[in-house]
């Protein structure tokens, strides 16, 4: 198919349409406003549901209602807005409702800034809702990958009855690239939504969408079912990319926009005789722990680069299991690192090693 030039945010919207989006519920917040803006037109033109909610809280709960009714549903937001959605995300996980959440990260904490950031890694992978739950988190590094992952996100959500977050940052949301909207995604056999509350005329018995289990043994059993599902997702859905991993001197671990910057850094390091590889996690949850087993033993160390002050760093330390020295380089507040800064970080690796 022919390629078209579009912004990351438009790509989120158009890829969702391609994936058969039935309903969108959202609230304006920079830097993701183009997502609801495009969808407000595209969805209504196709006779689908678009509601601009009165709040982020309301939007995620509209998602709950529509997902519970068996529809393909999404919302999108950014940092401070995702913070408000955390209650709803916990309920969606508890009630096992599939949906897609677009999250375009900006600077924090608090109102922070509207510039790109990766300060919401914890928010995405650990979450702020209550209880033992996990959201699948997909982190694209380009507009094309945003399209591909958005489409896949709906399938993963439906396959496992779980929310899936596509975590981009303000840079990916705002930059324009040529994309093919019709690249095929992995074929999956999706289970029919026999559990949806669509009225008893449509199914046997009553369908109840619920996350309340008042008896301790019932709630624990529910939690164990969820844990078994998360284990299944961890087994099946890990995605990552290994770049230049044949006998590297150092390995960078970076995702999203930072990974792109590191690609350039790796190139200039190679020109200076330093051989650096990269692990690029695509799923942030489940985290690609097994990628770390593939790092050659001769590697001198791992540099984690993030547009934050060290959040994914935790997962790297867990996955590394103490095998290699780990160093960190981070910028925040909307400051985007230059490739030269990553080069410098590698050249001063020993000074940056974290405990």
């Amino acid at each position: 198919m022919s390629k078209v030039l579009m912004k990351g945010n438009e790509a989120i919207a158009r890829a969702a349409m391609k994936a058969g989006l039935d309903c969108f519920f959202g609230y304006p917040i920079t830097p993701q406003n183009e997502v609801p803006e495009y969808l407000s037109k595209l969805m209504l033109d196709e006779g689908k549901v678009f509601v601009q909610a009165e709040s982020e809280v309301s939007a995620i709960n509209m998602v709950y209602g529509a997902a519970g009714a068996g529809k393909r549903v999404m919302t999108s937001s950014s940092s401070v807005g995702i913070a408000l959605k955390q209650e709803g995300i916990s309920y969606l996980c508890g009630a096992e409702l599939p949906c897609v959440i677009g999250s375009v990260m900006r600077g924090g904490p608090g109102l922070g800034s509207i510039q790109p950031s990766q300060g919401d890694y914890y928010q995405a992978t650990r979450g702020g809702g209550n209880g033992d739950y996990n959201v699948v988190v997909l982190a694209p590094e380009s507009v094309q990958e945003t399209v591909d992952l958005m489409k896949e996100a709906f399938d993963i959500a439906d396959q496992y009855r779980n929310p899936v977050m596509v975590l981009a940052d303000g840079l990916i949301g705002q930059m324009m690239e040529a994309v093919d909207l019709d690249r095929p995604v992995k074929e999956r056999k999706l289970p029919p939504k026999t559990w949806a509350s669509t009225g008893t005329r449509n199914h046997e018995g009553r369908n109840i969408i619920n996350s309340l289990f008042l008896q301790a043994q019932d709630l624990e059993a529910h939690n164990l079912r969820l844990q078994a599902k998360y284990k299944e997702i961890t087994k099946n859905e890990v995605q990552f990319e290994m770049i230049n991993m044949e006998n590297p001197d150092y390995v960078i671990v970076a995702y999203g926009t930072t990974a792109r910057i590191c690609r350039s850094a790796i190139q200039s390091l190679a020109e200076n005789g330093v051989n650096v590889g990269m692990i690029r996690p695509i799923t942030l949850w489940p985290y690609p722990k097994k990628a770390f087993d593939l790092i050659p033993k001769t590697t001198k160390g791992i540099l984690v680069a993030e547009m934050s002050h060290g959040q994914m760093l935790d997962d790297v330390l867990i996955s590394n299991k103490g095998r290699f020295p780990v160093a960190f380089y981070g910028r925040s507040g909307g400051m985007v690192p230059e490739p030269e800064e990553i080069v410098e970080a590698i050249l001063t690796f020993d000074e940056r090693v974290v405990d």
Binding site: D22, C23, A53, E54, N61, A69, T200, I208
Partner: protein
């Protein structure tokens, strides 16, 4: 001959409601109306947080359980997804008038075509009788132990009157369940609300003055008397909005 059968709109589960609480009567009325309108098999009810949190075990239709205050947001999501279905929320005053007031007002303002059954008993029942936005001046609760004070807590909030101001509402009535006559009036009001929904007229809400004998520290009869004597003067009964009446 059996005169009072269990409505087809109720499951056979025993309810957990306290003796003298009006949730039982109100559940029965909603169930009967859904059955009489022959819409049970296309109804999705939204249970809220509060004493009625388990209403998904009692109404004999598909149900969704909402986070505290979010019932009208869920109902929006369901009804927009399935416009041919019948959707209702069943909420208390803490849920609807306090933590969920934004969801309620904006659903009403959008004219969302679903029905809200709003049980107002002037307290947070399930959590043990704390002050609600509807608590009467002078009413003692576990968080207003010397009684609600106007200067400190403000006046009880009147949702029926507020919602009647909003263009998107089609029908708003306040009723009570203190005697047979009023129970029949309540049923007529609820049936009208669901009928308006079936006719696509927009947001409908029935505020039902309800009892909470346990948290009011009253016996059921005294609680019924309190509704008439203390609540009605603050929350007057009647139709506050009816789009089909031009006067």
């Amino acid at each position: 001959m059996i005169k009072y059968e269990r409505s087809a709109g109720l499951t056979t589960n025993a309810t957990h409601y306290c003796p003298g609480c009006t949730h039982g009567i109100l559940h029965k009325i909603v169930a009967e109306v859904l059955d009489e309108l022959n819409v049970l098999d296309k109804t999705i009810g939204i249970a809220s947080v509060g004493c009625s949190v388990l209403s998904y075990d009692y109404f004999n239709c598909d149900m969704q359980q909402a986070a505290h205050g979010r019932a009208c947001a869920l109902a929006t999501g369901v009804k927009r997804s399935l416009p041919d279905s019948v959707v209702f929320t069943y909420q208390g005053d803490g849920d609807l008038a306090s933590i969920g007031i934004a969801e309620t007002l904006h659903a009403a303002n959008r004219g969302e075509n679903f029905t809200v059954i709003y049980a107002n008993n002037t307290t947070y029942g399930m959590t043990g009788g704390q002050m609600a936005p509807t608590t009467l001046i002078g009413q003692k609760t576990t968080t207003s132990q010397d009684g609600r004070v106007l200067a400190q807590h403000g006046n009880p909030i009147k949702m029926a009157e507020i919602l009647a101001q909003i263009d998107g509402t089609a029908y708003v009535e306040r009723v009570m369940l203190t005697d047979v006559g009023n129970i029949r009036k309540t049923k007529r009001a609820i049936k009208k609300a669901f009928t308006y929904q079936l006719e696509g007229r927009g947001f409908t809400l029935i505020e039902v003055l309800s009892t909470c004998p346990v948290n009011w520290r009253m016996d059921p009869f005294a609680a019924m008397e309190r509704v008439k004597e203390e609540m009605v003067p603050v929350f007057p009964l009647g139709v506050f909005k009816d789009v089909m009446k031009d006067d």
